[in-house]
Symmetry: none
Subunit: 214 residues, 4 copies
DNA sequence: TATGAATGAGAATTCATTCAT
DNA sequence: GATGAATGAATTCTCATTCAT
């Protein structure tokens, strides 16, 4: 009986937290961490300000929770998409697709996950990177598999992943800065084309920059 | 005589402004716009608080001036590097090199030009994009030239440029988030390799994603 | 139940506002609008600085609220005194008495309602005049009645009222400037005497300046 | 020779002071003491800010000098007008005329001499009253003369003067607050009429308020 | 002597956080 | 538990006054 009550309680608490996080995402996204106003968050969550602080000790922790939840859900989305195919190149395709698709669906997280980094450089970065590298390990396996299957050139996989993640972040970032014109996912095909095959046409010239595909 | 005095004055004013901007870059970079403290900026510039406001009407204008100076100098650096070579592909190489090299030399501008965008989405974005697209027009010409010389595949040049700028921003961004490990310019070669020739080895597979170079 | 709570709340809010206004009257009166210091007001109200701004968005609004309350209460006092008598001349007597009596009881308002006008010439003047002319319309009726009853000479009533209000303001003003020596209400009788019958004794001489009473 | 140089110097200094005071009157009148800006005053005087402070140790002293000069000139104007006639009642007429005429010509002084009093209640008031009572002594003599010539009723002259000065200040004040509509001097005749003969027509009623003129 | 750049004390205002109800 | 009124530290910005040139 007690246990059941506790469970109910837990669910209630989780609901409250979700309620607050959902409001916080919007407000932080609109105004950035500093300008975001706890009053706004409380109002948007239809809760008293005190309640917000009951569930999240302070503004910073609330912000980090928003970041955390965002990163978790990004990671989950990517991971579950990857599962759907087995070919390494197709997996990479899925990564790119699901990354862009995620931020298209979660526009509010762009400002928070990408721009606001600097606000917490030292504090958040590590947490961010944990998540990020949690991903990265899985992704590294995919590239290794692609390599061992002879699908991709012999390159330093860490560097390739750096380029890929930079590329994806950068694309999302540019889309945001430019005012979210067009669909973000429309950029998938050009990214795939370039990331997979580059822009150079001429074999000879290509050689200068690395082993060109034959 | 008077004119000479005016000139001296102008130089003095420019020096003061530089002194303040140099301090502001550091402080804004460390703390972001909102948390950055005008007192800190004044102290770092070894000037009175009032003096800072004498030269920059308010914090926002000071921040924008920092952004402006940064973008100008980024643009100038890239443009002057481009001039040095004539081959379009080499010009693209220079863009990539000088972009990364710029942010390696101006670490403080990363936080300001890349992360803090969101703070001023509406206010700065346009100014930013003017600068940015000032660049872009020149860069577009380079790609067009490359295209007409048959150096690169028939692709939508606008999209290619989006990918390139996203890629560069993203690489710089990742370097910053990861704590600026290693030299940023060390990433030039992998970027070139991927951007020019892609990661795929196998011709057949490549075809799926676009015209592979022959 | 809810309604009762709301009512309690309203009363609480009104009490707080009163508390702040009571402090503000004193401080504004002492220092004038510009020099008055919100910190002082808060301390005198025994409230935190933030609380003052919670109830009055900014210093200007606080000041205007003080003015408003003062004018309202001046008007109410005069109006309620007027009601007590029916003879027009007695009503005029009441106006003069209650005007001086009001400022004797509300010394702090002298500085605010009379001296500080200039601070807000454009902003407040209209609001002030609304109040003031709210009064004036009622007062005009009294003079008209006096006229139609043949109690006063045929004069331009608007001009007479201008003189009366000027006279009253001026008397209060002089009392303040002179350091509030003596009771302000002691001046009622001389004002009545002069305003009603003038200073001139000699009939013939009086004629030069207007219809002398016969 | 030296003396002549000193004289020249004195004249120069007086000119500079005049230049500054002329500017200060305008600025203080526009903005009140606190809001008035020494920069504005300097610019309007076409002098450097440092020069202003060379001639007037600080803002307060400058303000007081403006007040002083204003009061002097008011006093002089009134006094010189009084000289022109010999009949006491005509002298009183002249006082009223010249007072209003002075403020009509020196609109900027209204805000300074009348409204801003409160700013310096303690500091300026005494200086103000010296001037004022300097006047008052002369004026008292006039009323005494009128009394001894049997021109005016037996009244407490001090009180009568208080009413007159209050009345004049009040009239000027109202004119200012109302936005200086019409000519201030147009109000002279109604003031004279009321001050000299009152508003009451009926002899019997008048008696209640004091000895009515016969 | 004249100047205006430099200054920093001082003022208004904001807002995360607390805590009595 | 939930609330939101109260708070005061922190922040931006102003401006009288100084002083080196």
């Amino acid at each position: 009986m007690k246990i059941k009550g506790d469970d109910k309680m837990k669910i209630l608490i989780e609901n409250r937290k979700k309620q607050i996080l959902d409001a916080a995402v919007i407000v932080f996204s609109k105004d950035g961490f500093s300008r975001a106003n706890t009053d706004d968050i409380a109002k948007r969550a239809k809760l008293g300000k005190g309640t917000v602080f009951r569930y999240f000790k302070n503004k910073k922790i609330l912000f980090c929770s928003v970041v955390d939840r965002g990163l978790d859900s990004l990671k989950n989305e990517i991971m579950s998409e990857i599962e759907k195919v087995s070919d390494p190149l197709e997996k990479i395709e899925k990564i790119i697709e699901s990354y862009l698709s995620f931020f298209e669906k979660n526009k509010n997280l762009i400002g928070i996950l990408i721009h606001e980094q600097s606000s917490f450089q030292k504090r958040i970065a590590s947490q961010y990177l944990n998540h990020y590298y949690g991903n990265v390990d899985r992704i590294k396996l995919i590239f290794k598999e692609a390599l061992s299957q002879g699908l991709i050139k012999r390159m330093d996989i860490n560097k390739v992943i750096t380029v890929l993640t930079g590329l994806l972040n950068g694309i999302v970032y540019m889309w945001q800065v430019e005012g979210r014109k067009g669909k973000l996912t429309d950029r998938v095909s050009i990214i795939l084309e370039i990331f997979f095959t580059g822009i150079i046409k001429n074999k000879a010239r290509g050689k200068k920059y690395g082993r060109i595909s034959v």
